[in-house]
């Protein structure tokens, strides 16, 4: 065989492999296609380049690319593409304003959409050492951040800042992120949970609107009167109340019965979640579906496949301020009242309760520019920014001065009046509480599936054992 003239490595390579599949393959260096450059090395170089890029990408997950003169302040939030466009525009505007006021600073918003992913992702960033400087802190999952040294205590920053006045903010919302004398977040916005009602459905059924201080009995009567079930129909065409198996919502029935999930220290569920008042509250909820049929059970909700209150097929719903945006878009005429209380004479005032679900801004312990981060927190929670931010109706501003701007309408006043009765959620204090809520959801699922074969007391006892075990784990 004649020796190849040029030392084109491709050619040699191919000759070596001529009895193999190489020859038939689409290998670009086949003699018939060879373009006469040592492309074996090109290929190898390309493979290695790809490898290096791949590893660089993996290793540089939180590298910063700005020139050294720019300071980058990273802010994490959970807004995603489903947030209303108005808010996204506003956030951009706030960012530009902050950057204009702080030359040389660039704000980098890091959006982590998908609520369930927010906490795990941030915790991973913390462990991996690339935590943003400022994070939006959700009250329901605040404990895991506060109690594991992820956040910076803001007290020294507050005390050394004469311009900042903590009393401007709603106390129950501030309390969400407090541990003793330390404070870990400044309230951004919040909402108490309230009972919304559809005025048109009430008018059609000639049922009087509920008033603050109403009782469970009145609630049940109204729900019955508002449930429409045509003769022969498999299920009501209209429900008095829209139930969703989401423990952050239905736990409020326990609270308005003077019961609770955990003891005051948050260490155990036994004696509380299985106490007689808890049993009574859970029985009341379950019977709304199984006995009175005034609320859709899991199956009815699945069939509806939609929010029954929003579609005008349920007259009452327990929700927060953010739903007003949707109701307004749907053209629903809604009213709002506090939750009904059990109505024991001696305990009426203690029973009036709601929860405050809040978002705060926190500076992370890992931030190397805490002073700048603090400036951002102050800016975002200031009256001027807050007034514009909550104007859409998404939530109530944590800043009292800003919230006061919107007072004067029946709905806003009802919300504001309830702040005095609002408590922080357990998730702000007990790290494992989100897991307990999952156990609670499963328990409710069991009860609704059992259709009377499982007693509420037994279900609660079982769940309490699991909760206590989860809380006792070191």
């Amino acid at each position: 065989m004649p020796k190849p003239k040029a030392p084109a490595c491709c050619y040699r390579w191919d000759r070596r492999a001529r009895d193999t599949a190489w020859r038939r393959s689409v290998w670009p260096c086949h003699p018939t296609r060879s373009v006469g450059f040592p492309c074996r090395w090109s290929c190898l170089a390309a493979i290695w380049a790809a490898t290096v890029v791949l590893f660089a990408a993996a290793a540089g997950g939180c590298a910063r690319e700005d020139e050294p003169s720019t300071t980058v302040l990273r802010v994490a939030n959970w807004t995603g593409p489903d947030v209303e466009p108005g808010l996204v525009r506003l956030e951009r505007q706030f960012r530009q304003e902050f950057e204009a006021a702080h030359p040389g600073v660039r704000l980098q918003m890091e959006q982590i959409p998908g609520y369930g992913q927010y906490t795990p992702k941030l915790l991973m960033m913390h462990v991996a050492g690339c935590m943003p400087d400022v994070i939006h802190l959700d009250a329901s999952a605040a404990a895991v951040f506060i109690d594991n040294g992820v956040l910076r205590d803001l007290t020294p920053l507050i005390e050394s800042d004469p311009q900042f006045d903590l009393t401007q903010y709603f106390e129950p919302v501030v309390e969400v992120a407090r541990r003793g004398s330390s404070l870990y977040a400044i309230p951004l916005d919040f909402t108490p949970m309230m009972m919304f009602y559809n005025k048109r459905l009430f008018d059609e059924a000639h049922v009087a609107y509920p008033q603050a201080g109403w009782t469970w009995d009145e609630f049940l009567q109204k729900a019955k009167a508002l449930t429409v079930r045509p003769a022969g129909a498999a299920r009501p065409t209209q429900y008095g109340f829209y139930f969703e198996n989401w423990m952050p919502l239905w736990v409020l029935w326990l609270w308005t019965n003077g019961a609770d999930v955990l003891d005051p220290d948050g260490r155990r569920a036994s004696g509380y979640f299985d106490g007689p008042q808890s049993v009574e509250a859970v029985e009341f909820i379950v019977e709304l579906m199984t006995k009175h049929r005034v609320a859709p059970d899991l199956r009815d909700s699945a069939i509806a496949g939609t929010d029954l209150f929003r579609s005008g097929r349920a007259a009452m719903d327990l929700k927060g301020h953010w739903m007003l945006l949707d109701y307004r878009a749907d053209g629903l005429d809604v009213g709002v009242v506090p939750l009904p209380v059990r109505g024991r004479e001696e305990a009426a005032e203690r029973e009036r309760a709601t929860v405050v679900y809040a978002a705060g801004l926190a500076v992370t312990a890992a931030s190397r520019q805490s002073q700048l981060a603090w400036e951002y927190v102050k800016f975002m929670t200031s009256r001027d920014v807050q007034v514009r931010r909550v104007a859409s109706g998404l939530a109530i501003s944590g800043n009292k001065l800003a919230a006061a701007q919107f007072a004067g309408t029946p709905i806003e006043d009802a919300f504001l009046a309830e702040v005095a009765y609002a408590r922080p959620p357990w998730g702000a204090r007990v790290e494992r509480y989100p897991f307990l809520e999952e156990l609670g959801r499963e328990m409710m699922e069991d009860l609704l599936h059992a259709r009377g074969t499982l007693s509420v007391a037994e279900a609660l006892r079982r769940t309490v054992r699991l909760m206590d075990a989860a809380l006792a784990e070191p």
């Binding site: 190898l44 915790l123 199956r299 699945a302 989100p434 069991d446």
Partner: protein, 296 residues
């Protein structure tokens, strides 16, 4: 020919990127997970005490984990044979040299190139009680059509099996199809001349010659079934009443809701061991059948 047999350092250079990739993204995590599994390792707690086999003994007595194991096994036992048989049947059909068969091959393959999350959302609608497509069909056939497929503990896992048949059909079918098309046509002609009908040709030519393909499809389908995650995450979240809480979803919850990475790693190793044992058994059984009918 000496130069062909000489081990070439250039060859090592070529395989190095893939080796490095595997080492860093597969072997290293495997090793680290093994280390974590022997410790009580909460993501955020500073101390990580060594517990030896403690995590594994705890798993043994954990009723939720045992349920996850049995859910997974039930899913594998149901979905693998059904999935393989359906794919083989469809492959035989679309292997027929008829006009327009390309269209059918494409249609059957479409689910494989679609997002599993999007497919899961579609299946939620298909499986809805009363108003869903499936219940509509049942009603049309004279049934009650009121089953809440994703809401009843007895049905939810079966619904996931049905969905997996459809999603996994495309890739399995393509592999079987390639296997069928690589069988020399002369064999079929000879058998036909000798008076074999279609069924006997399938039984005595197609099936034995597909044995290597079969081994590949069965093993990969089994591994995929053990690793079911996306539809559970999107459609059922492990419910109702933990009836679809399969191992991978359970591990995900342990790691990301409870942040117990040590325990989650131990669970991963249990899953790994289960897959390994099952795959080895499959290799043993199927390869024996394969060499027995080898054509070469």
């Amino acid at each position: 020919m000496k130069s062909v047999e000489r081990p070439s350092w250039r060859g090592y250079l070529f395989v190095a990127p893939a080796t490095v990739y595997l080492a860093v993204f597969a072997l290293l995590p495997l090793g680290v997970a093994g280390y974590l599994a022997l410790h009580r390792w909460h993501l955020l707690k500073p101390e990580h005490p060594f517990v030896g086999g403690g995590n594994f003994t705890a798993l043994w007595t954990d009723p939720f984990f045992r349920q996850a194991v049995s859910n997974t096994l039930l899913y594998v036992v149901l979905s693998v044979p059904l999935g393989v048989v359906t794919a083989l049947g469809v492959a035989v059909l679309v292997a027929q040299p008829l006009r327009g068969m390309g269209l059918f091959r494409t249609l059957f393959y479409i689910p494989a190139v679609s997002s599993q999350v999007a497919l899961s959302m579609v299946w939620i609608w298909i499986l809805l009680p009363e108003v869903g497509l499936l219940n509509g069909c049942v009603k049309w056939l004279g049934g009650a059509g009121t089953t809440n497929f994703l809401g009843e503990p007895g049905w939810a896992l079966l619904a996931l099996v049905a969905m997996s048949l459809w999603i996994g059909l495309g890739p399995r079918m393509i592999i079987f199809l390639a296997g069928i098309q690589s069988i020399p046509g002369s064999l079929f002609e000879a058998a036909a001349l000798d008076g074999c009908n279609a069924w006997r040709r399938f039984l005595h030519i197609t099936l034995p010659l597909l044995a290597p393909t079969m081994l590949f499809v069965v093993v990969t389908t089994t591994i995929a079934a053990f690793q079911l995650f996306t539809p559970v995450y999107v459609m059922t979240r492990g419910g109702p009443r933990r009836s679809t809480d399969v191992l991978l979803y359970h591990i995900y919850q342990e790691a990301w809701q409870k942040l117990e990475l040590g325990m989650a790693s131990a669970q991963s190793y249990v899953l790994f061991a289960m897959i390994l044992v099952v795959a080895l058994v499959q290799f043993r059984l199927l390869r024996r059948g394969w060499t027995g009918v080898s054509m070469n």
